[in-house]
Amino acid sequence: MMSLAFDPATDFKLLLAVPAIPLVGYVLQIFLRKRLPHGDKLLTLGMFVVMCLTVYLGAKGLHAAYAGERFFHHSSEAGLEFGWLYSTGTVPAAQNLVMGVLYDPLGAAMLAVVGIVSFCVHLFSIGYVHGDKRYSIFFANISLFTFAMLGLVLADNLLVLFIFWELMGAMSYLLIGHFSHDPGQPFFHRWATWACKKAFLTTRVGDVLLFVGIFILWDKFHTLRFTELWAAAKETVAANGGEFPTWLTWAGLCVFGGTVGKSAQFPLHIWLPDAMAGPTPVSAMIHAATMVAAGVFLLGRMYPLLSPTVLSVVTVVGATTALFAATIGTTCYDLKAVLAYSTISQLGFMVAAVGLGGVVAGMFHMTTHAFFKACLFLSAGSVIHGCHHVQDMRLMGGLRKKMPITFACMLICTLAIAGVPYFAGFFSKDEVIKAGFLKILDRRTFDGWSLYALLALSLAAALTAFYMFRLIFLTFYGEYRGNQKQHRFSAMLAAEGVEGPDPNEHAAHDDHGAAHGAHDDHGHAHAQDHGHAHGDEHGHAAHGHAAHGHAAHGHAAHGHAAHGHAKHAPAPKVAHVVHAEKHDEHGGHAEHHAHEPHESPLVMTVALMILGLLGIFGGHFWLTEPQNVFNAHPWFEKLVTPTTLYGEEIASWCAPEPVGEAAVEHFEHLEHAAHLDALIVSSIVAGTGILLAILFYLVWPGIPGRIVAFLGQAYTAVRRKYYIDELVDATVLKLTWKLTYFQKWIDENVIDGLVKTVGALNKFLGVFAALFDKIVIDGAVNAVALASQVFGAAFRLVQTGRIQQYAAFAVGGAVLTAAWLILA
């Protein structure tokens, strides 16, 4: 039995081995992929080792926490420091960038989460990506991503964190773009082609802000190590009379900008739904569990540097995102899109929690969310796999019996995300809400933003329960619709046309970037038709609503699709539901589109089950004390507290402990009240959401259609994601392109003009040249040349080969020289 005490000498080597394993796996996979036929399995084995290591090391942290010790280690304890910009020890640390490993409670928890999730994803991918053309590259990239994420968690230093942060962005780019190299999947092929770029660029906006934040902090503190930053911030604030200086607020805002980009917060959230163009395991790993959580992780790391102003901004942005994404989530039909918006919404929860002062709550929610959201995505992947790459929920239904394991796991995690007691999400979401109550119940900390945040979060929690159960009911309950009514749904999809972003439309925006009025009409046609289509989702025949635009097109598709030859259907949008190539491995042809969904192979379901278990017990292992679950102190809160995170001094500065008996009593009372309120509220909202979903989708299936009809344009707006993509296209992108073409124009004309001014010196040198050339026919040609070509043209003008002109230049030059000589 190994000791659970942390031993810096050996354990830091293990910690370094943790990111090293996927890195080595990546290198092997890239360079030896032809000679390593089972590279994927090797990698997964490696990830298993990583998982074991991280869990083992995390257990040490827990052990210390339960023993009441502070668990906070830096690799300098083991003499492991690495000068990066200059080699170790050659220059003072304030001029160098010394990297080390920081292993603290938050890092321990996050590391274990990443280890577990990435192992599950690797395992799942063996089954899911099997048969893909770029199978080995996929594994290589996802390994490198894991390396980056593990490195980020272990970073002791803001710049190192940034390095891994960006590296993750790049890997995300490559993995979202996975299908962009594979024309076998036309829909994803076209979507991924631009979605990966969109994801990278959008997050890079946030990254640049973070970079700026790093500038400011470096400039002022000359260190980027977290521990030193915290202490420095405390000193700075103390020196400034307890107020945060403005520049620190700006730095905090910039750092938060990084979070907004990476964690897909409003208004930079637009990339995340499009990131679903990547394979589902990627969505599970990167765009649900780890990378997007990195933004929240960063907030946790930087919390002591965030001024109250920044925290208010964080609160508002997080709460707004949570609510706003949840509303969109209720209207999506794409299985993965629902989950994507759910992710955005949950990230909003975490961010808002940090803003409300509940940094532990935020981190806790990040941890549990990683488990259940990864499980949800992987389950969705299993469903999609089982349904032969159909993603539209209207083409599913009744899968409960066909895919029982998947259903069970998904249901568990849905309960978890909805915040039903006993499930992981309950504990963390409860903490988030509690943080809000704590803030508004106390008169000294109350502010309107917090109240708004609390309301928004509660509403979002209800909506979360609603749309997640909507997903469950649409997918697993009722009749299987992908089969017998194929033709109708093809037509409907064609009419819909907007499931997931329309690749045509976006590609057009992307490619031309300039005015695109025509596309707007297009979009409207889609949106209006959608309302009608929606009403039909439970088996009513599509009546003559499909009057305009694509709907008519859809009817054209109808006739063909009726024969089951979806492949021949002329509507290109139908093709995306059908993954022709995938069918070959199941022994059928594309025409056999209609065959039964099936449960996924064991490698996939095992991964689901692991995560499903964590979906139950990831928040709190309540089997030990099932009766006391509402007053439980989950493992995470034992492990991570402000004190263990930032140390005594900083923690008491960030969140002053009450002093004096009355104050302590008041505080305890407050906490108790908040806890109770949070419990009530979260139970009520979860219950309401679930109840509504049951009513709408099981009991009275006609209601959603009516509500949609009632809401009219408002629904359309939500359905179209509040037109934010369009807004970005019309403002930011358009402006960028305008600027680009403007500057290009300048380059081709004005700088030429500038050189023309240089030429004008020349011209002045030969005033006659211009005059004579006006008369000579060639002059016109030369003038054009002068305008279009740069320096050469100006000189060429001189090079006419005409002696008289040469003479003129000579004279001009002589006059000038003489004038200069005389003047000087």
Binding site: F768, T800, G801, R802, I803, Q804, A807
Partner: protein, 100 residues
Amino acid sequence: MGLGAYVAVSGALFALGLIAILVRRNVIYILMGIEMILNAANINFVAFNRFGSMKLDGQMFAIFTIILAAAEAAVALAIVLNVFYLFDSIKPSEADLLRE
């Protein structure tokens, strides 16, 4: 009359020679312009010689210039004839092979 007057005449003649070179589109005018310029230079030489050292340097230069002008005229006229054969024209603007 003083030195200034001669210099002024010389300068004016020089300018006129330049104008002749620059504005007329006939090779012969260029030659004439050159002769004017040479003459302008000669006036200067002699004038400065006269009002300067009273030695012979300026006059010697002038003689030299005249001799060279004669040589130049001979060669130039030969060239003009050749240009005319080549281009069927004596417009200097058309003799632009140098540009290639």
